[in-house]
Symmetry: C2
Subunit: 336 residues, 2 copies
């Protein structure tokens, strides 16, 4: 099941993602390849995976970036199944499994970027799954691997394990009290990056943050996973305390903010993606704080549904930004 539809009892950790960067030894990195060799290498890896005897191979479907509609491509990115960088890359493809919790991007920055994404806080499970898929591929291709450096990658920051473990957290109280800035700084010193919902350079709309390891060299996979797990647990504890303090010191303000957010989502006739995410975030916090009791708890799903391409997909046609804002308000009213 796709991550945002999975049942998740964790109030703060929304999802877990593990990504492995891999390259084939027989080809240079994608940025040094020409169109023909990229196509050749891409098809070679596609065939390796699709023709392998693993049960995994039966689950995957190949999507060529060249063939995909703009809206469909963007929707894959909004669902975190591909990177936004892949959208403009016509030579690449992505393999996605039926459950939409595994994807393999081919010819993005590296030859292969294998990703497992799950709802909730499941670093071990996601890593084990990624490792299993990696082993299947490894049986059929020759990875670029150096005894000293480990897996070689296009960008040195991924060299070593090639592992990025990232956890998406909902941190409304730390955002509201502005404590998040201090946490971002100190996490940086520990080799942990805290970024917006869509990674590097993206904003933390809806108070959603990606917490991930910055370097993959000099630590084992297990150590990286433990390190991220450790920091995530600490941040979650900070968020819990911040929520408690907000309730103790500003209960009226918080209750009002949450209920107003709910009222606007329930009645607005036009709403931007940014505002929708902020309001959904308030309501989600209110639900988790026990302040507001709403039937439909699929608020994270609603944030994804609020994304531009998702809206267009639901409307089955191209929309102007104004039409999108109206359609978004309609979808949210119906859902909430």
């Amino acid at each position: 099941m796709i991550w945002y539809k999975e049942k998740n009892d964790n109030d703060i950790v929304v999802s877990t993602r593990v990504r492995l960067a891999r390259n084939l030894s027989k080809y240079p990195f994608p940025n040094a390849m020409n169109k023909e060799t990229i196509k050749k290498a891409r098809e070679e890896i596609e065939n390796c995976i699709m023709n392998s005897n693993s049960t995994l191979s039966k689950d995957f479907k190949i999507y060529n970036m060249l063939d995909l509609e703009d809206t469909d491509k963007k929707m894959l990115a909004e669902k975190h199944l591909i990177s936004f960088d892949l959208l403009d890359n016509k030579d690449s493809s992505v393999l996605i499994n039926k459950d939409e919790n595994m994807s393999v991007m081919l010819m993005e920055e590296d030859h292969l970027r294998l990703q497992v994404i799950m709802g909730g806080f499941k670093l071990d499970e996601a890593y084990e799954t990624a490792n299993r898929v990696d082993d299947v591929i490894d049986e059929n291709v020759q990875y670029a691997f150096d005894a000293d450096f480990g897996y070689l990658t296009s960008c040195p920051t991924n060299t070593g394990t090639g592992l990025r473990a990232s956890v998406m957290m909902h941190l409304p109280a730390l955002t509201m009290t502005n404590s998040i800035q201090r946490i971002i700084s100190s996490a940086g010193g520990l080799g942990i990056a805290i970024r917006g919902m869509y990674g590097e350079g993206s904003k933390a709309y809806g108070s959603l943050y990606q917490i991930s390891n910055q370097v993959t060299l000099g630590l084992t996979e297990k150590e990286i996973i433990e390190k991220v797990k450790n920091i995530v647990n600490q941040i979650a504890e900070h968020e819990k305390q911040a929520r408690k303090k907000l309730l103790e010191n500003n209960r009226d303000y918080i209750e009002d903010k949450i209920y107003r957010a709910y009222g606007i989502l329930k009645y607005a006739r036009t709403i931007s993606s940014k505002e929708a995410k902020a309001l959904i975030s308030d309501v989600l916090m209110g639900k988790n704080m026990g302040i507001i009791d709403i039937d439909n708890g699929e608020l994270i799903e609603l944030m994804i549904m609020a994304e531009p391409a998702y809206i267009e997909h639901m409307s089955k046609k191209k929309l102007s930004p104004e039409e999108r804002d109206k359609k978004r308000a309609e979808l949210i009213r119906d859902a909430i």
Copy 2:
């Protein structure tokens, strides 16, 4: 029935008020009287009205400003039954009828200020009622009247007929498009004042404006009434056109604004009087434009209920401003 509970089919005119300023010839104006003569004159007028054989006299009840609780006094002002100036005047009293559509303030700026207030656009009816009460009083006292100047009053702007005809209008579209400023200027040139909900110096919260004649000298009562009626009709036409244009050019924006206002009123946990009035005004406009269909149409009553003293009265105790904002939100949620 008090004006804001009267059924009113007029979308734009909320209420009509006619006020007559009168003084007794045997006393100087209140600002030149001492405490004892004020008391003597006040009781004399009170007795004249209460002991008259008119059926009107049976309806009236006397409230001494000295004896009234702060909250009750303020509530009378919020309901437009006395002026806010009267609140700090311990020597004055007010006679109010059972239906709360007539009041006679004694020893405010003038010896008598007789007022009739009705829901909707009823200038003739209100004037005739005021005139009838005035005649009853006139039979029992000697008014200060000059053959050339007419009724003499404390402030020269009221000398002549002593009549102020004022109409409260709901002008959200003219406010939103900022056209109201131009209308205020041009009305001024015609001897018509346009002021906030509570007259001179008050703000037009909730887009409620008082339209009234500025001078009472040199025109007959009928002429004043006709003049105000004429201007009110013109302004109402402007408001209608402005609403139509808003719908034609900004329907999405207007619908969103109205529904968001409704959502906030329905869910907010704390709300100021100013914000409440602005949002109620939006919903009222939406209802009158046929955009939003709400059962409870008593939105003008809700604006009065949103006033500070009314809130305290409903709570039956003194409230801090924060407590008041919470109670207001609660009352509005229950009402809407």
